[in-house]
């Protein structure tokens, strides 16, 4: 168990910068997920923590010790790779015990620790198998077992679930979370899947283009996204963005482009005439019997538990998620109730969330 401090860390390949000064504080036992689109630098950052990439600038400390020049094996970390990286010619037990063997541990100790880790992960019956004889989920578990056996200060996961099918991914998600709950070891986890981030993390770091966009708890980021990128990245289906202009006394209303007018949350720091982007979560929009804003249904997607609608609102297309089943056909007119929905209002120029007075 350990803390990790990342201070103004930079990385460039030649003249091409990939990370532009990143600061993250990871507390002891915290489950931190770095999330962002491909090429945002999240994997590079993780590999720098692991010691597999050199650090161009800044410092990374594990448990208060700066590890910039420390070899991967001396950082007391363990890493789980996206493609598992199991040694193909070794059995599961040998794979899991390899690090201990290299460290000069005795046979009995290796066996005890491997058996212990295998017990945690349910691998007892597979210890004599070769990786080729295992299924994807089992290989993933062996890769985690190899990490657990070393009892490291920090676990590093690099998109460990990307190669699994959807069902298995959900299962492994729960297993990793349970594992963290049990071991209480600090975890740094990289993924591009916002659902993984939302469901597993204590703390999410949203990254884009080598910058950190926002750090916070999953629900904090979901409810108070700092900018349009974070708002759009977290949540599925993604948040709707509508262009509009502030109107009325004290900026009390938002005039949506050709789609009517909605009241703004109180205490927003804005001025009449200001161009903004309004973000509304699809599940916050309802269908009104009377009143509301008229819209045309384009697509109806029943998922069983929910109904997803794509509707045209003025000149813009938005998604609506209804918790009920509803008989609608494309082309039908509906009235949307936006009045009660929490609005996320962003400046159109800076794409940053408008501050409020409170």
């Amino acid at each position: 168990m350990s803390t990790v401090q990342i201070r103004d860390v930079r990385k460039s390949y030649g003249a091409h910068p990939v990370l532009h000064g990143v600061d993250i504080d990871i507390a002891d036992g915290e489950f931190v997920i770095l999330v962002g689109p491909s090429g945002c630098g999240k994997s590079t950052l993780l590999r720098m923590v692991a010691g597999l990439e050199t650090i161009t600038g800044g410092t990374i400390s594990i448990d208060g010790r700066v590890v910039n020049g420390v070899e991967p094996k001396d950082r007391d970390i363990a890493m789980v790779f996206q493609n598992y990286a199991l040694y193909p010619q070794m059995t599961v037990a040998q794979n899991m015990g390899f690090a201990l063997e290299l460290a000069g541990a005795g046979k009995d100790e290796i066996k005890r620790k491997v058996d212990h880790a295998a017990g945690i992960l349910g691998l007892e019956t597979l210890l004599d198998r070769k990786p080729a004889q295992l299924s994807g989920g089992q290989r993933q578990r062996v890769a985690m077992g190899r990490a657990i056996v070393r009892d490291p200060k920090v676990f590093l996961f690099d998109e460990p679930l990307s190669n699994l099918d959807a069902k298995l991914r959900v299962k492994m998600r729960a297993e990793i979370k349970a594992l963290h709950h049990r071991l209480k070891t600090t975890i740094v986890y990289v993924t591009h899947d916002q659902i993984e981030a939302m469901t597993m993390a204590d703390k999410i770091v949203v990254m884009q283009g080598g910058h950190i966009e926002q750090i916070g708890t999953p629900l904090d980021l979901y409810d108070h996204p700092k900018n349009v990128f974070v708002a759009g990245f977290l949540g599925s289906p993604a948040m709707n963005f509508l262009d509009g202009v502030i109107v009325g006394e004290d900026g009390a209303f938002l005039e949506l482009n050709g789609a009517g007018r909605v009241p703004l949350p109180a205490g927003l720091r804005c001025a009449a005439g200001q161009s903004v982007i309004a973000g509304i979560r699809p599940e916050e929009i309802g269908i009104a019997d009377t009143g509301g804003i008229p819209a045309e249904v384009l697509v109806v997607e029943p998922t069983g538990s929910e109904t997803h609608l794509a509707v045209r609102l003025g000149s813009q297309e938005i998604t609506v998620v209804l918790r009920s089943r509803i008989a609608l056909v494309p082309g039908e007119q509906v009235h949307l109730s936006l009045g009660t929905a929490p609005l996320h209002v962003f400046d159109k120029e800076t794409k940053e969330r408008l501050p409020s007075f409170s």
Binding site: P72, K73, F81, A85, Y87, F98, L102, K130, R146, N163
Partner: protein
């Protein structure tokens, strides 16, 4: 194919239609196999015939009265005691040593970044492009200056020099194909480069190493031209040199000549049979998501 539950309308019991392309392929394979087997049959049959029987019967007629004495005769007259021993010494030292050096060099070229890596690799690969006949005369002068003519090192060193470049070439491209996560995982597990090489890369590369070992064994075992130039003393001769002398000396005794050929070819064939089972591909399957 995986067995699936048979549906009531399953027609799998019906004879499948004959695939004529497959039939043609098989026929071609049989034909090619026959062409390759024919000389062996000829050599083995002839090695068991007396000279008179060779002249009287067809080349592919089985020996009526097998004459095993041809083998003992050939062994003595061809001085196989000496040449066989020399060939074994040279091959057994050269082949594993060459493979070991090549694979270490290939690992460095594939996985350890250093300045001038590309240039150095090019220089080594250049070695594969020079026909050795061009080098024979300078090679003789060089080995002579080192006072290594008629010694084992005098022939093993040039063999290494000519064998390593193409092995490095093949192995480094194979090593490059090994996922980098494997060596990274090993680095995190605490392995040094040499440990990664020995414990991860060599086992994973067994098929290609076996292939190279067979090729190198056969070509070293059969090498003639360089041995002819570098080994002048008859006591240092290798098998192919012994064979050539054989033909001049006993050109009329075809039985003994072919017995000598069989004994020369046999070790290479045995090595092939031992190592061909490692040719199975897919040793890396399961390492990473395939």
């Amino acid at each position: 194919m995986t067995p699936t539950a048979a549906s009531p309308y399953d027609n799998t019991l019906q004879k499948p239609q004959r695939d004529w392309v497959l039939v043609a392929l098989w026929a071609t394979l049989v034909l090619v196999a026959l062409i390759w087997v024919a000389p062996f049959v000829f050599i083995i049959f002839t090695s068991l015939k007396s000279n008179a029987a060779v002249m009287a019967s067809s080349a592919f007629a089985p020996p009526v009265d097998p004459k095993f004495a041809n083998y003992t005769g050939a062994w003595d007259r061809g001085r196989f005691n000496t040449t066989f021993f020399n060939s074994v010494i040279i091959t057994v030292i050269k082949v594993p040593l060459g493979l070991f050096l090549s694979s270490m060099a290939a690992y460095a070229f594939a996985k350890i970044p250093f300045t001038g890596r590309k240039m150095l690799l090019l220089v080594i690969l250049f070695g594969t492009m020079i026909p050795f006949q061009v080098m024979l005369a300078p090679l003789f002068t060089l080995v002579n200056r080192l006072h290594l003519i008629d010694t084992y090192p005098g022939v093993i060193l040039p063999y290494l020099a000519f064998g390593i470049p193409y092995q490095v070439f093949i192995l480094q491209s194979f090593f490059r194909g090994i996922p980098k996560e494997l060596s990274e995982a090993a680095r995190i597990d605490g392995a040094s480069h040499f440990t990664i090489f020995r414990r991860i890369f060599l086992p994973v590369s067994l098929p290609v190493l076996a292939a190279l070992l067979i090729l190198d064994f056969v070509s070293t075992w059969n090498e003639f031209a360089m041995a002819l130039v570098l080994l002048q003393d008859r006591d240092m001769w290798t098998l192919p040199l012994g064979l050539s002398a054989f033909q001049g000396q006993f050109s009329r005794d075809y039985g003994q000549l072919n017995a000598a050929i069989v004994m020369t070819v046999l070790p290479a064939a045995i090595v092939y049979l031992i190592f061909q089972r490692y040719f199975v591909s897919g040793l890396t399957s399961g390492a990473v998501k395939g």
